[in-house]
């Protein structure tokens, strides 16, 4: 068969291929010939150089714009980054202290401070906007995990079962070699150098948050903006812009306030109570499995303040949520309202601690945990195991 893939030597054939190329649909019931794939006559070298220069200029301008906004290059809090931390348990660090939580313990617990006091750096498995219950179940089902577990309880998420980043678990289980390689390449060769490489600055996200006119019956919803800065081992703290830029801080508060106002789309109270009980039962079951394996589990209700605290309490009052969870699970719980040293801290947007106070919080929490619980609870866990 003649090899006719490129027909640049034949001007007529080239023109035919350019303007009226046949496809397999024009040739029924026969062996299909080698396809024709002509290259349009253009100065491609000049075009490619021009495109390269222009795209470099556009990307340079985009990078400058975001740096001017206050962004700095950093590590993306991606599913792949979480999977790296989750694998540590499978790869010989199953006896470590692990954190599973929503954004509060994620942003508030500073791994470096904890490491200084404890001698060992915890594994951070928390997710923003996401209940830790499925992750708790995942750890309970993993016999390799035998360490200590800090479970953050942000009422709005824990007792509703809401999981904004819930797909991360499946991602980590199914992660392909190609995805692992991509994560490694990205966090070593792209993310540390480009400020615009951040979910909040993606083109679609930026376009969506413009001031679009409201559709009657469907008000525009402000999506959560960039709140925190993450390091390679997921040590995370509140972004300085939230603390220092009054406009940005006000925007963050405005975003939370959208949820504080009851909406007709909210589930009815009975449904929420039912869901709360389901989540408590799931957590209790997972904790029982962990305890049976000798894992020390500690529940932590991290600080919130102002309208957010009112919202937390209105949505899931302590007596019917936190207290029930602690009682049913049989593990100790630290509620920030019970400890003066965990209060009086700065929460710029009512939900997460300022970086400096997150360090103070971590130190105070560590002291409470070690003094009152780890040592006291160890015999109980061992007894449970027997």
């Amino acid at each position: 068969m003649r090899s006719g893939a490129f027909v640049d030597h034949d001007a007529d054939a080239h023109e035919r291929a350019i303007h009226a190329r046949e496809t397999a649909s024009d040739r029924p019931g026969v062996a299909q010939p080698v396809p024709v794939r002509p290259v349009p006559k253009q100065p491609w070298a000049t075009i490619a150089i021009g495109a390269l220069v222009l795209s470099a200029l556009l990307l340079g301008g985009w990078e400058w714009y975001w740096r001017d906004f206050g962004a700095t290059p950093g590590i993306r809090n991606s599913d792949g980054l979480w999977a790296i931390q989750r694998r540590r348990i499978d790869n010989g660090e199953g006896d470590a202290t692990v954190i599973t939580a929503s954004s509060r313990l994620f942003f508030d617990l500073q791994l470096d401070v904890w490491e200084t006091l404890d001698g060992r750096r915890p594994i951070q498995l928390a997710w923003e906007g996401t209940t830790p219950v499925p992750f708790l179940e995942d750890l309970a089902a993993d016999p390799k995990f035998t360490g200590r577990l800090l479970v953050g309880v942000a009422p709005e998420l824990f007792f509703s079962g809401f999981a904004y980043r819930g797909k991360a678990l499946k991602y980590a289980r199914d992660e392909s070699p190609a995805q692992r390689a991509g994560q490694w390449l990205s966090m070593n060769f792209v993310e540390p150098y480009l400020a615009f490489d951040e979910f909040d600055y993606a083109l679609g996200t930026v376009l969506k948050r413009q001031a679009w006119p409201e559709r009657p019956g469907k008000p525009n919803h402000l999506d959560v903006r960039k709140l925190a800065v993450t390091e390679a081992d997921r040590n995370t703290h509140l972004w300085s812009k939230v603390e220092n830029d009054p406009q940005y801080k006000a925007l963050m508060r405005q975003i939370w306030e959208q949820d504080f106002v009851p909406s007709p789309d909210d589930p009815p109270a009975e449904e929420m109570a039912k869901e709360r009980d389901v989540q408590i039962d799931r957590a209790v079951k997972a904790i029982a499995t962990l305890r049976a394996r000798g894992v020390q589990v500690l529940l932590i209700r991290e600080p919130s303040t102002g309208p957010y605290l009112e919202y937390d309490n209105r949505l899931f009052p302590r007596a019917s949520s936190w207290d029930v969870l602690v009682a049913k699970s049989g593990v100790p719980g630290i509620h920030f309202e019970d400890y003066p040293q965990l209060q009086g801290l700065e929460l710029p947007e009512w939900s997460h601690l300022a970086h400096a106070d997150a360090k103070r919080f971590t130190a105070a929490l560590h002291e409470i945990v070690v003094r009152e619980f780890w040592k006291a609870d160890a015999p109980r866990a061992a007894h449970h195991e027997r």
Binding site: M1, S3, A5, I18, H19, A20, R21, T23, A24, S25, D26, P28, G29, A31, Q32, P33, V34, P35, V39, P40, K41, Q42, P43, W44, A45, T46, I47, A48, G50, A51, V53, L54, S55, L58, L59, W62, S78, S176, P177, A178, A181, G182, L185, F196, D197, F199, A202, L203, G204, L207, K208, W212, P213, E214, R215, G217, K218, P219, N220, H221
Partner: protein
């Protein structure tokens, strides 16, 4: 690995670099074969075994076909290939579906039988490479082609990474001859290939993933009942998304192959400007529709045995074509509707063979085709018939009192992009991309190329799999 990933960028740069080294042609082909296996195993290494099984079975089946003296032996070799390939497909893709339907059938006659859950992972691209290898044996069986002269060329035809997991579905006669002679891409072919890859990735990362997918998800993946506007916008978003996703993949694949010096066939020809459904299927997923025509519709009798047999062959082909897309009755319904449209169109063409539409009527017929294509996409996108009916009810205005689902942003963005797609398809209807590029000023090509590249990077694609990988 997926084209829209950093891993692929590095992989492709390495492959291009190695392929341009002054090595013997056989060494280059071995490199491409090894690279293709790496490309495939980067998803799930054990599944490479399936690829090998498919490759080896069809190689020996084709050899057996050539050596066979008796017709019965030829049948046996052909059947071996068909059973091995379709058997793999049946087990991995349709196993759970068959078991579930058998269970439902038993339940309907009062026998309670609860099968164990299969929990089988679908090997990526199995529907594509089984069809490619099948076409190899079937072409030899039908005496349309001779087997490849050596195993390396044949194995590379099956495995060549640009087409491996989502097509275009290559025929052996299209690709094997290209491996027989040394070939090297010229500088212009590499640059044009890269431009095609940019266009393909822009379609996938920017249009499909960043701007269209979310609106479709909000309508189709929620339990809310959509009103007329939401049902239409959600469905139009999906029609744009699936085109950009799949045509984007095909264009990237064609560009990647071109950079390496190989030609792959067109898989899409501006399908949303189709006038009628036979025209639509000459423009949409061309390599699948022509495969089904050559290896299913024609062997079933085609149009050579009277009207009744023709309609049966048409419906059978489209129903199976629907099922090829996924193990769900909604896909069968989608294929069945397309079969019905094709049958009605065939009848109308015969009944009114002298009819020639005016230009205005031509456009109206095109828009009517697009309308029906969209209504039919509902079955393709909805996971259940219940959801499909809910969306269709919304589209015809029967969900009165439904609360709005999509914010203004989605209404505007989907409308603008989908209108742009449909308009561009009509403008390009009788043309090729190459013919337009030929007449475009070089500076404008540079600017457009740069804008597309910028949008791809700024959109920050999260490496979402292409929709057709699941088929």
């Amino acid at each position: 690995m997926v084209f829209n990933s950093l891993t692929f960028v590095v992989f492709f740069a390495l492959v291009l670099g190695i392929h341009s080294l002054p090595l013997p042609w056989t060494a280059k082909k071995i490199n491409l074969l090894v690279a293709s296996y790496i490309f495939y195993s980067a998803w799930n290494p054990p599944f490479v075994i399936l690829l090998w099984v498919s490759t080896v079975v069809d190689w020996y089946a084709a050899q057996g076909l050539v050596k066979a003296r008796r017709q019965a032996a030829r049948h046996a070799w052909m059947l071996l290939s068909v059973i091995a390939n379709l058997g793999m497909l049946a087990y991995f893709k349709y196993g759970q579906f068959l078991v579930d339907n058998f269970s439902a059938l038993m339940a309907s006659i009062g026998i309670a039988w609860q099968p164990a859950h299969y929990d089988i992972v679908l090997p990526v691209g199995i529907s594509f490479y089984t069809f490619a290898t099948l076409s190899y044996t079937l072409d030899v069986y039908l005496r349309r082609a001779l087997p490849a002269r050596n195993f390396l060329d044949y194995a590379l035809f099956v495995t060549f990474f640009p087409h491996l997991v989502a097509g275009p579905i290559m025929r052996p006669t299209e690709l094997v001859p290209q491996f027989e002679q040394p070939r090297r891409a010229t500088g212009d072919q590499i640059r044009f290939g890269l431009a095609l890859m940019t266009i393909g990735l822009f379609n996938k990362i920017v249009l499909a993933d960043s701007f269209l997918s979310r609106a479709a998800e909000k309508v189709y993946d929620s339990d809310k009942i959509p009103g007329t506007l939401d049902a239409w916008i959600g469905t139009l978003a999906f029609s744009g998304q699936i085109f950009c996703d799949f045509a984007g993949y095909s264009t990237t694949a064609i560009g990647a192959a071109l950079c390496l010096g190989f030609a792959m066939p067109d898989n899409f020809r501006f399908p949303y400007a189709a006038v009628g459904f036979s025209d639509f299927w000459r423009r949409w997923h061309i390599t699948l529709s022509s495969w089904l025509r050559d290896y299913l519709y024609i062997p079933l009798g085609g149009n050579r045995h009277g009207a009744r047999r023709t309609y049966l062959a048409l419906m059978g082909t489209m129903l199976l074509g629907g099922l090829w897309h996924g193990a769900n009755w909604t896909f069968v319904a989608w294929g069945g509707l397309h079969g019905l449209y094709l049958a009605v169109e065939r009848w109308l063409r015969q009944r009114y063979s002298d009819y020639r539409p005016s230009p205005a009527m031509f456009v109206l017929l095109g828009l009517f085709t697009y309308l029906l294509v969209n209504l039919t996409w509902v079955f393709f996108r909805a996971k259940t018939f219940g959801k499909a009916w809910s969306v269709l009810s919304g589209m015809v205005g029967m969900n009165g009192g439904a609360k709005p689902i999509l914010e203004t942003y989605y209404l505007v963005v989907v409308s603008v992009i989908v209108a742009g797609i449909v308009l561009s398809h009509w403008l390009m209807r009788g043309r090729t991309l190459e013919s337009v590029i030929t007449r475009t000023p070089a500076m404008a090509i540079s600017a457009i190329w740069a804008l597309l590249a910028f949008a791809i990077v700024a959109a920050q694609g999260s490496g979402n799999a292409f929709i057709y990988f699941q088929f």
